[in-house]
Symmetry: C2
Subunit: 422 residues, 2 copies
Amino acid sequence: MAPQNGLSRRRLLGGAGAGVAVGAAGFGAGFGVGRLSDDSTAAASPTGGLDAVDLGQSIDFYTGAHQAGIDTPQQRYCVFMTFDLTASTSQELQVLLARWSAAIAQCMAGEPVGSVAPDRVGAVAADTGEALDLGPASLTVTVGLGPRVFDERFGLAGKKPKLLADLPALPSDQLRTELTGGDLSLQACADDPQVAYHAVRDLARMGRGVVNTRWVVLGFGRASAGPGQSTPRNLMGFKDGTRNIKEAADLDEFVWVDDDVHWMTGGGTYQVTRKIRMDIEIWDSDDVADQQRIFARFKQDGAPLTGKDEFDTPDFSATGPDGQPVIDPTSHVALAAHENNRGIRIFRRGYNFTDGINEVGQLDAGLLFVAYMNDPDHFIQLQTRLGRSDALNEYIAHIGSGIFAVPPAPEKGGYLAQGLFA
Amino acid sequence: MAPQNGLSRRRLLGGAGAGVAVGAAGFGAGFGVGRLSDDSTAAASPTGGLDAVDLGQSIDFYTGAHQAGIDTPQQRYCVFMTFDLTASTSQELQVLLARWSAAIAQCMAGEPVGSVAPDRVGAVAADTGEALDLGPASLTVTVGLGPRVFDERFGLAGKKPKLLADLPALPSDQLRTELTGGDLSLQACADDPQVAYHAVRDLARMGRGVVNTRWVVLGFGRASAGPGQSTPRNLMGFKDGTRNIKEAADLDEFVWVDDDVHWMTGGGTYQVTRKIRMDIEIWDSDDVADQQRIFARFKQDGAPLTGKDEFDTPDFSATGPDGQPVIDPTSHVALAAHENNRGIRIFRRGYNFTDGINEVGQLDAGLLFVAYMNDPDHFIQLQTRLGRSDALNEYIAHIGSGIFAVPPAPEKGGYLAQGLFA
């Protein structure tokens, strides 16, 4: 298995409270940050606790394996942006990816992408400056390539990743053109939103003349250090990510590509992003028993309706005194569960967002859903079921969407997707 | 002078690096967080440093003096929202302010505003739940009342604060109706945006039938723990707030009202908020020498063009070898300086924001400017000059605006603006 991207003891501390005893710092221990089960209740500090995130912490870009920002323990903020290619040659794309790679490595190291205040008279600064001295803040920038990179324009059709194609129309989709698609994606995650924004802004600036910005979401979310609480909550007030993939073996099985075009092997994956609107004002008027039926979880502690603890496995066959299933078969958890989907799993990174107040005067908010998988059909299968039947659909709508092939990270001296241009 | 709202040694640590030696914990020491001058360079930890903010920290609501969130050391995130009153009687407003007061006190203590998951079948939850166990995160919620609260509708005209009136049209204003005005304002600041958002969301929900949401901004910004860097940077990459008021005596002179209606005395003030768009993509194409001329500061370290250190006093009379003023009289610092405005000062809390991508495909970003003063005419005078002549106007536009009277905080057992209804 590829080495992990800068996992460290402090992420565990940051995610689960300064009081948690840390075991082995390897994958199994480090990866579970924010999703610790047994340990978190026992050893967590009092509610709130010291926020021990070290903003001086940096993560390596040049891993030579999969890009950082996928299995990296989830940072608190995310800026996700997509771009349309306006280039006319593959060489322009190649140069952009090479320049982006160098700049991403600098940003992740906490350095400006060039001079902030050059001495030369009349010189424009290479770096926009707003993240000066803010530290690396565990920044990761993950780059993806959309299906149209491989259309007739650039002569790259023969190197298209095997499973990369536009997503089909899915049940309940309410996609908006201006929030959908893109030829390139940047997912910048950091423990400071200004650090993430700075990176995307400077990369966008570097792309002028080659790419146009298309859509962007600023997301936030924090796993708490409180007792019994380590999974972040979405803006519906429910824990989100309890059953997410946590083990390296499952990443191997479901996330990293195995047999694909050569430039995707050694750590490539596919990224599906959805901007999901939540009608939170309507949701807030629903009674909690119904909310719990819809998720199939208790709101307070996140336990499945058939269990006592958050990480108990839901029992989809359990029936209540009335003979009816305890877990509604149209609940979100039931429809999304791998037990009910021939074992299919995808790996998710979710962030909350707010867009202020919408056109009808209600709070405009939702979930930025970024998922990684080695076969986009897994997302299509899951979302087809959810889009058709999910009881949650009354309160949410998928309004933005994108699909991207995510190549491995380069070795030092190389750049992203270098093999595509060989 | 009134006691301070929960200032503590840890704010100093959080703002200026864990390595800073802390002197007296009183006003003068605590208030300077993020703006320390001499100490910050000498004693700060390495770039980034440990983010020592304690998210378990809470601030008192019932101070009996001015509300928290004004001179409280600036937290990292802000949700600012205004509301239109739809009530028909002053009693409805009175009840809302009483309910808001109790709920704000709970949120600031890190508690939900009521049950998240009530046992009773069919019960709607009092609290929306997304901040459960996230800790108080130094939340403050500051409430203001706009001019129209005192129109003919509610019979409160006789108790209108002496200096509360709609702002006049100011030079360069590009205000949008949907981002301007409001009868009530909430400024929720916290070290976690989800905690701030939760508070505003639940207060808005509590106001259904009495108020409608009008406009909202989510702001962010972090003073760094890095060497030589303690003032936050705006999205133009410049330090913002270097010359802000720092001393209690100056707050007494310029912020707290002295002679006003009875319910404003004992800690009241006026709040002026502006949503300021920054054309950052155009700004980024300007050369740094010109950017520095516009601000009259060096970009890298924030020193005035006539000085060497950030906190050096600008010398507006200095001339260069060519006989021209070193500081352009149309620079932002020159026009805003109290030395050039008959001594007038206002107290500012600024946060960066991004609204994604605008209608012409450019990054949509700017500054949420919240200022406190004991005479709104001070803002009017300053912005009249700036709006007319500021070299920065080529790159910014004031697109949102509001003015509010901010009453003192209640004693325990009371509620905000209680004297208004006596």
